[in-house]
Amino acid sequence: MSDEVTAEILTTHLLDLAAHGKRLDGRGIDEYRPVSIEPGFVSTADGSALARIGSTAVLCGIKLEPGKPFPDTPNAGVLTTNAELVPLSNSMFEPGPPHPRAIEVSRVIDRAIRAAETIDLTKLCVTPGEKSWVCYTDVHVLDHSGNLIDAGMLAALGALTHATMPNRRFGIADADAPLDVQHFPVECTFVRLGETIVVDPSFEEEQGAQGRITIATDESGRVVAMQKGLIGAFSPDDVKAVVERAFAHGDRLRAIARQGGSSA
């Protein structure tokens, strides 16, 4: 019961602040927390990156293994994305089978990677119909302080752009080669606090939000995925406005994911 009361007081406070264009941590309504990427964080992975947005920390590791292409796409490799919300990252998460929340995060990241054609899957084909690379993208949430989708996507993009195809390990070629990344999707998430829509929600803002919306864009000016989540609603004009905001943030996020480093 006391949790509910605290949550209600906090939400009221967040809404009051938002109505005046303010946020709990002093940010502007269209301001991200500091974003940073550390590629190559895990040496056992074929590609990896640790992404931070404020105190949210998400690690992504890529593993490439030979496997079989799907029968309906004999000339293409296989891409799978999975997100684990491990219990160490937040008191909300419990051990056990994946919660719908985790499934949503992985599927929204997967959609952006897939729809943007981040990887040319035909280049992952070794022998049509028989052998192709399977690219496992595993997103591991270490510290959930809000906005897991954006952080997870940045980590995944950072890991993919710095990944190596382990040709030698599996006797496929004499030399390893960089994984060819042809498009660079990033996700940009907003939540509604009253009539104000803020970017990059903190954990507290997500708890008090009246709806969340994520827009994935790529470097060529395309929207490649969207997802509305949580209880709440957005008008078509709201959606059009956040799409513009997502494009405005996209290039900077993309640059950080591709080059590593950080934004102040």
Partner: protein
């Protein structure tokens, strides 16, 4: 989408601008909605939408299972969107896969956005959607069926929730994709509208669209939802005017 490395791509748009089934770009497939199609459920509906057949049932407000999910200040809305093993060309393994779980989550959140949940603290409103025959747009058909079922169950809501998917087919923005268009089209954008407020409570997108195409798709979807809304209201009127018509 999902067409990478696939073999044959059918012609989706004729030179005259007609679609694979002869529809215009802004034309819906035929929709039949039967409110109160089941007997045991507190509310139910059957929807035939193009070649989709979807049944929805609502139970509750009732006791919450498992109990720890109970909330002291409102009802919880639980949704299970499930596809029957025989509903698709290749048999689907029974049970909820990750896709179904994600869809269940976003549908539950959409309905919780319109249900007056504070009126029923410590209870659960359970929405069950069974896709019996699938031909693209099943989550939207499921939402339409579930929404009519919720109304049939007498659950107080802000409004009914019409839903439709808009997509991009051979470069053109098209309303209500069917299977071939969904499989080989360039984008899919399902949405659910609260007609009274004009706001969207479900919105997803996969594929690629420019911002202008996206704006057009949103407007087309909203107008599609408004015509589905009329059919939903008519189904409920028919229910009270003429007794129960059992589906199929």
């Amino acid at each position: 989408m999902g067409s990478v490395g696939a073999k044959e791509v059918p012609v989706l748009l004729s030179p005259e601008g007609l679609r694979i089934d002869g529809r215009k770009l802004d034309e819906l497939r035929s929709i039949r909605i039967v409110a109160g199609a089941l007997h045991q459920a507190d509310g139910s509906a059957f929807v035939e939408w193009g070649a989709n057949k979807v049944m929805a049932a609502v139970y509750g407000p009732r006791e919450v299972h498992p109990r720890h999910l109970q909330q002291n200040n409102k009802a919880i809305v639980q949704c299970r969107y499930n596809m029957a093993a025989f509903s698709v060309d290749e048999r689907k393994r029974p049970g909820l896969d990750r896709r179904s779980q994600e869809i269940s989550k976003v549908i539950a959140e959409a309905f919780e956005s319109v249900i007056f949940a504070e009126e029923f603290p410590r209870t659960s409103i359970d929405v069950y959607i069974e896709v019996l025959q699938a031909n693209a747009g099943t989550r939207c058909a499921g939402i339409v069926a579930a929404s009519v079922a919720l109304a049939d169950a007498g659950i107080p809501m802000v409004d009914l929730l019409p839903a439709v998917a808009v997509g991009k087919v051979s470069g053109a923005i098209a309303l209500d994709l069917k299977k071939e268009e969904d499989n080989f089209g360039e984008a899919d954008l399902p949405m659910a509208l609260v007609p009274q407020s004009g706001r969207l409570v479900l919105l997803q997108m996969e594929g690629h669209m420019t911002r202008d195409e996206l704006a057009k798709a949103l407007d087309l979807g909203v107008s599609g939802c408004r015509s589905i809304y009329e059919k939903m209201k008519q189904a409920l009127r028919d229910r009270y005017a003429g007794g129960t018509e059992v589906a199929a």
